[in-house]
């Protein structure tokens, strides 16, 4: 019989011996798996998990996080080179496009992640706190998306900045923000919201690691 302690035993790190693993599963799987045991990832991934969670549906949160890393990398490059580069040179336009598609990937995987959490009732009990943190992160990333659009510097930026300023940014508190002010929108997009997002996602991932995979329904 599986006891509760055994269930939570999957949070314990498993030892990894390359030779042994290679004999078990062949070279390529052993090679690919070895990444999980590298120092930065060693404490991040559960090396064993309940069998029902071995479906791609359980990878969606991880892929959302991965897309976020792509957004950070492409976003940092765009930040260093600046608006003239990203809207005026071929390399810049490609990098901006990769940033755009990384955002599409981020929300695509995020939606699938939310659907997985709903269908498996993974918000039950103490996990609700992390569920709520996840949703706050989601809402904030929608705001991040809006300010990214405003900071692009094209026709859509001009129109949406004024259209949103006359609708959303006339509300109390929000009226303090000037969306049609390019510099302000850019700072909010590249510094303010990402900083909060990094903190929230860090807490979210840490809690997932600490609480483990939710029990099956």
């Amino acid at each position: 019989m599986l006891k509760e302690e055994d269930y939570f035993a999957h949070h314990v790190t498993e030892p990894f011996r390359f030779g042994e693993r290679r004999r078990e599963r062949g070279f390529w799987r052993a090679f690919l798996e070895s990444f999980a045991y590298l120092p930065p990832f060693n404490r991040m991934f559960g090396k064993v998990s309940p069998s029902y969670a071995e479906s791609y549906w359980y990878c969606m949160g991880g892929l959302t996080f991965f897309s976020f890393l792509l957004l950070l990398v492409t976003g940092l490059i765009l930040t260093f080179f600046g608006p003239t580069w990203w809207s005026g040179t071929h390399a810049g336009i490609v990098m901006k496009s990769m940033h755009y598609w990384s955002a599409q990937a981020f929300f695509f995987f995020l939606f699938l992640h939310i659907i997985r959490v709903w269908l498996t009732g993974a918000y039950r009990g103490k996990r609700w706190v992390n569920y709520a943190i996840g949703f706050v992160t989601f809402f904030l990333s929608l705001g991040e998306n809006l300010f990214g659009l405003l900071a692009r510097g094209d026709w859509e930026s001009q129109f949406v900045s004024m259209h949103s300023d006359d609708m959303l940014f006339t509300a109390p508190f929000l009226r303090l923000i000037s969306p049609e002010n390019f510099t302000s929108a850019l700072i909010i997009h590249v510094a303010l919201i990402p900083f909060v997002l990094v903190v929230l996602i860090g807490v979210h991932v840490t809690l997932v690691k600490l609480q483990g995979i939710a029990r099956p329904l």
């Binding site: 901006k96 598609w101 009732g121 039950r124 259209h163 609708m167």
Partner: protein
């Protein structure tokens, strides 16, 4: 590798070695897709509208906007709370004209002085008369944003033939049009701002019928589900679908406060009611759609059906 296995209904699963080997492959695949799309498909990038181009294309719109800025009915009066804006008449008409007095003809300078010498009610009256006269030429009361129909742009021939108690306003409007068309106005707005602040330029442009009309013609205003669309590109922010529904379909959702209210209510449902309230929180359990999500381990299914003690059965998640 089996760490433990159960055949009871609550815990019919085993602890298996996680199939981490798939992660680097899936990660590389995502990077490859993002790179290919970035190179081959690109991203939305429609050229910016400029004051010079817009005023050359629709001079009648620029003249009308001046009248509305001076009588206090322009769209920019929604933006008076912006830092540095306060009064659109001063910021978008009077100050640019004063700054460019060296470029104005004696006639235009006299008009500006005549306007400044008059009291506020006289100034507003002149501008209001001119605004109404222009409105008559197009048969509508003009801009302000939000409506589904486009705003007709008054023709210059009709504007130039208007007569009435307009004071110096028509001459001032022609001066602004000249400064807009020769590029001075754009440079002036940038010159009085710290670098890369396009605030006054954007506010000025939104007073013209051009920007909103173009958006309406392309189906891009919020009422036309513009929140999830991009100009000239097939994929937009589709993930804003829930706020877009709140904006288009729900009563009052097109106002700022209504939009925040509905979105707040939807957020409250998903964050608090759905996961915590008894009944709601059990919906996934009764829907049983989790069956589509969970990995099915054939060995475990067999064990469960046969109710055979499963100790000793070895399996590998990587093979599932």
């Amino acid at each position: 590798m089996v760490k433990g296995q159960s055949n009871t209904s609550e815990t019919r699963f085993s602890i298996v070695t996680h199939c981490f080997w798939r992660y680097p492959i899936v990660g590389l695949f995502v990077v490859a897709v993002v790179m290919v799309l970035g190179f081959a498909v690109g991203s939305p990038d429609w050229p910016q509208a400029t004051i010079k181009k817009v005023s050359a294309m629709q001079p009648g719109g620029a003249i009308w906007a001046v009248a509305q800025e001076l009588d206090g009915t322009s769209a920019s009066y929604t933006n008076t709370h912006e830092y540095g804006m306060s009064d659109p008449a001063k910021r978008l008409v009077i100050d640019p004209l004063k700054s460019a007095s060296w470029a104005l003809s004696p006639n235009e300078q006299i008009a500006l002085h005549q306007f400044l010498a008059a009291n506020i009610s006289q100034q507003t009256k002149w501008a209001m008369n001119y605004d109404k006269a222009i409105q008559k030429t197009v048969g509508t009361n003009g801009m302000g944003g939000g409506g589904m129909g486009t705003t007709p742009v008054p023709s210059m021939t009709k504007i130039e033939s208007l007569t009435g108690n307009f004071g110096p306003v028509p001459v001032m409007a022609q001066s602004i049009l000249k400064l807009a068309q020769n590029g001075y106005l754009e440079t002036y707005f940038q010159g009085i701002s710290p670098s890369n602040v396009y605030q006054y330029t954007n506010i000025w442009l939104y007073d013209q019928p051009y920007l909103l009309n173009t958006a309406i013609q392309n189906g891009l205003t919020d009422d036309q589900w513009g929140m999830i669309k991009e100009r000239g590109f097939f994929v937009g922010p589709w993930y804003l679908i829930v706020p877009a529904i709140a904006h288009v379909e729900l009563p009052g959702g097109s106002t700022g406060l209504g939009f925040i209210f509905w979105n707040g209510l939807i957020a409250l449902f998903f964050v608090v009611l759905f996961p915590l309230v008894p009944g709601f929180r059990s919906i996934p359990k009764y829907l049983r759609l989790y069956k589509l999500v969970y990995a099915v381990n054939p060995v475990e299914v067999e064990n469960y059906k046969a109710n055979v003690p499963s100790s000793g059965v070895t399996q590998d998640a990587a093979k599932i």
